[in-house]
């Protein structure tokens, strides 16, 4: 009796990568997840549970918060981490569910574009924010802050 001839396996895994990308992606998700829990829940606590709660949130409230560099950095970190964390999660889902290379590429380009766009727009708002724009009804402004700044 002859031994059966060995054939190459019918199922070959494609796209071998020898990089550490997936490992760093996993570590990033763990670390940013923990940081985001602290950032988001503190954010929600400060905005919704202290002072007048949800009714206090208006332009003047945001202006008052962003007068302090702490909240600028806080919101910027939250924005960047949340977008990359969520974007990376979506990337994993696309890898799982999009079967054709064309669909996978298209979705990933759309995802990268929207993540970048939101981060850029968000940071732009945080950095170029004007608490006392000219010609605005003073009733909408944070009067205390604008008087301190000499803008009112």
């Amino acid at each position: 009796m002859q031994a059966p001839e060995l054939k190459a396996p019918a199922f070959v895994r494609s796209g071998r990568s020898r990089t550490q990308v997936e490992r760093w992606s996993w570590i990033f998700m763990r670390a940013s997840g923990v940081i985001l829990i602290v950032l988001i829940f503190t954010h929600l606590f400060i905005n919704l549970l202290t002072g007048d709660g949800v009714n206090q949130i208006d332009f003047a409230f945001v202006a008052g918060k962003w007068a302090s560099p702490l909240w600028k950095v806080w919101d910027l970190t939250m924005l960047v981490l949340a977008m990359i964390h969520g974007g990376n999660g979506m990337r994993l889902l696309i890898n799982d569910y999009a079967r054709t290379t064309w669909l996978r590429k298209t979705l990933k380009v759309a995802l990268a574009t929207s993540v970048t766009l939101i981060i850029v727009l968000g940071s732009l708002v945080i950095f170029t924010f004007d608490p006392c724009p000219e010609g605005t009804d003073p009733a909408l402004l944070n009067i205390e802050l604008c008087e301190d700044l000499g803008r009112l």
């Binding site: 396996p9 990308v21 997936e22 890898n95 799982d96």
Partner: protein
Amino acid sequence: MTATAEAPAEIGAVETFEVTLRVKRQNPEGNDAHGPGEEYWEEFQLTCLATDRVLDALHQIKWNVDGTLNFRRSCAHGVCGSDAMRINAKNRLACSTLLKDLNPARPITVEPIAGLPVLKDLIVDMEPFFASYREIMPFLMTTGPTPERERLQSPEDRERFDDTTKCILCAACTTACPVFWTDGQYFGPQAIVGAHRFIFDSRDEGQWERLEILNDRAGVWKCRTAFNCTEACPRGIEVTKAISEVKHALNTGEV
């Protein structure tokens, strides 16, 4: 009224009950009622013993009701791992699942394990599963001259990978994994368990080659710790824990 003594139950007699088995079937050649490759459910009414397992019910169908029913089984005692199937929406071995534990008052559903191509009825093509297992090189890799005696190991060193030596390659874990269902590239929990058994074996020297393979984008990082594998394992292996230990080894560089 005369007192009548009830007939005493026969000693050693086993209770019987009626049970409905809903089996998901598929015939690649088709039959009178169904086209080739069409999936359909078929119900079987059976009278089973209280001690019967799902496998006994399937035998009863195949031997007495419908000989065309196809399923794998070999040892029928939970050792060979041939008869993993999805019973009442959970992966189990048909030979180690008692009917009475499945609420026989309602129909019991039996399906092939998910995520692998169905060949016929309850038989799936296991090749993608075995291909993943082969890729992690499930054999002892050593350097240096072969010792004349067996390679000795302390009980503590053996304890390190004891859990993953229990694997019987039944595929219940891999086909319970949601990532495996959607992503055809993922190695699956079983291949990682198979690798874990050698990575943490003090006698083996191929651990970094295996870890390198599992560091791939089809490797351990695809695991989202859904715990479906741990729940499905008929041998009670803590599969998700084993996967985490492999991740830990890759992150710390310590085996």
